[in-house]
Every structure is written in structure tokens, then in C-alpha cells.
Symmetry: C2
Subunit: 152 residues, 2 copies
């Protein structure tokens, strides 16, 4: 149940939206598919450098921008203040992020929608968007089966 999209899924999303399937974008897709948990733009830049993939800094940021727009990855604000991304399914949901290994799990809205509607009603605000982020320790890490953040 890893929320990591395959590189094919990433490319399909790009193609479906009318973006060109360029060589650099294929590489980015592969990098994202290789991420187990959340990752920063700079993680990808670093991998691109160490693995001599030849991706430009700007290209990585641009690609992530597009993919975030398509909902293939989602922006995440870590408690540290860092900006990160996670690969995910493109519908509205929230993230439960492991503070140890970085792996994240999608969480469906369940009762939250009601709660948000209720808060809106009581406050008089016309709520447009909301964001719920949960941070904790995943079952594997609790069990000591610590899966490292580093990906293949």
C-alpha cells in the first residue's frame, strides 16, 4: 500500500495532460518512483548529481511543480519547516507521515469533511481549503524493522 506512483503512472499523468514526455521528465519520473518516503526537491537534485543523470536544477523544480499541479505528488510542510513532496494518488486526501523513516500513508477524508464543514458553520468562515498533516511513527518503525529513508 505504498503511495508511490510508478514511473509509468507519472508519465501517463504528464502525457494525459498534454505535456511532452521528454528524456529529463522520464528521469524525474524514475527518481520519484524510487522514493519510499517523502523527499525534497534537493534530494532529487542530489541524486541527479551523484548518479550523473544530468538533470538541471531548474528542470527538477519545474517538473515537481507540474506534477504537484497534476496531483501526482503533493507538497508537504514538515514540522521542521522544510518543504517536501510525497508521491500519491491524485484525489483529495491527507498524509500520515512517519517521522522516523519518512514513509507516508494516504488517509481518506472520513470524518474530516464533516468536521471542517462544522467549523466553517460555527465560525462563519467560508472555508475554501484545508490541510491536515499527521506525524508519527509507522508500524514498521515501531517494530524496530526500521526501513531507512534512502531509496533504491
Amino acid at each position: 500500500m505504498l503511495p508511490v506512483p510508478s514511473d509509468r503512472a507519472v508519465l501517463a499523468a504528464l502525457g494525459g495532460a498534454g505535456y511532452r514526455l521528454t528524456a529529463p521528465r522520464r528521469v524525474v519520473a524514475r527518481l520519484i518512483a524510487g522514493q519510499r518516503g517523502h523527499f525534497t526537491a534537493d534530494d532529487l537534485v542530489a541524486r541527479s548529481r551523484t548518479e550523473r543523470l544530468g538533470l538541471g536544477r531548474a528542470t527538477i523544480f519545474r517538473s515537481l511543480d507540474i506534477l504537484a499541479g497534476l496531483g501526482v505528488v503533493e507538497r508537504l510542510d514538515l514540522p521542521t519547516g522544510d518543504h517536501a513532496f510525497v508521491g500519491c494518488e491524485p484525489d483529495h486526501h491527507h498524509h500520515l507521515v512517519c517521522s522516523r523513516c519518512g514513509r507516508s500513508t494516504d488517509v481518506e477524508d472520513s470524518g474530516l469533511a464533516d468536521l471542517v464543514a462544522d467549523l466553517g458553520r460555527r465560525s462563519g468562515y467560508q472555508v475554501e481549503t484545508h490541510r491536515l498533516e499527521l506525524f508519527g511513527v509507522c508500524p514498521d518503525c515501531q517494530a524496530g524493522r526500521a526501513t531507512l529513508k534512502a531509496a533504491g
Copy 2:
């Protein structure tokens, strides 16, 4: 019901925690107390400059750091990705932020704690912290009584 702490409250929090009540910190307290909605560190830097308050950049960042630690202000991640702060009461709660005027309202946990506990139970995660941010249009702005973000 503005969640803006008075400058006295800010100073009391500092003093109570053993921090010195220096002249620059009094100025920062006054600036924060004068903010109606959320504000960035740079907003304060800018006001300090235009009003010739003589605050150093580092001092403002340091003060905000301390105050965030004390719970007098809270860090906020705007949907734009910017980092901002809001003055607030120092207990656990969440923010409902007006996307038009920037004013924010504290929201108590109500049903959220249960929801979070439930999500934790179902996912197997041991949830440590969570963050809920709501963005929408406040009653005043809906009514056209647009209160500008700029403060006194």
C-alpha cells in the same frame, strides 16, 4: 475575539520564561500586538525599517523563534508555501485563516482529537503531532467590509 496577544502578554510570557525584557523585544512585542492577521518575519522587518525602529534582522528572527517556542505566536504554512506567524493563545489548537484579509481565528480541537486518534488506530501509526490548517473567507470579507491586512 481577535487572537492577537497584547504587547504586555507577550512581554509577560518572555519574562515568565526567564528572558530579558530588552528594548528590542519590547518593540517586537508592540509590532506583534499591532498585527491584525498573519504576518511574516519580513513584514516585521519592513515595518521596523519604515518606522525607523532600528531592529536588526537577526533580532526579529530570534525573537519570533523564542515566541514560537513559548506558544505566543504560531508558525503557519500558507497555501502559497510562505511561512507566516499568527499571535495566539498558548494552548494546542488550530487556525482558520482568512485568505483575503489574513486575519486568523483560533479553533479548538472539538472532534479532531477523536478523529486523529481513530486514524492512528486504523493505520497502526503512533501519531505524535498533527496540524490542521483551514483557509477561507472570514465573515467580514464576505460582507464586503474588507478589513485590510495592514495593521495600525
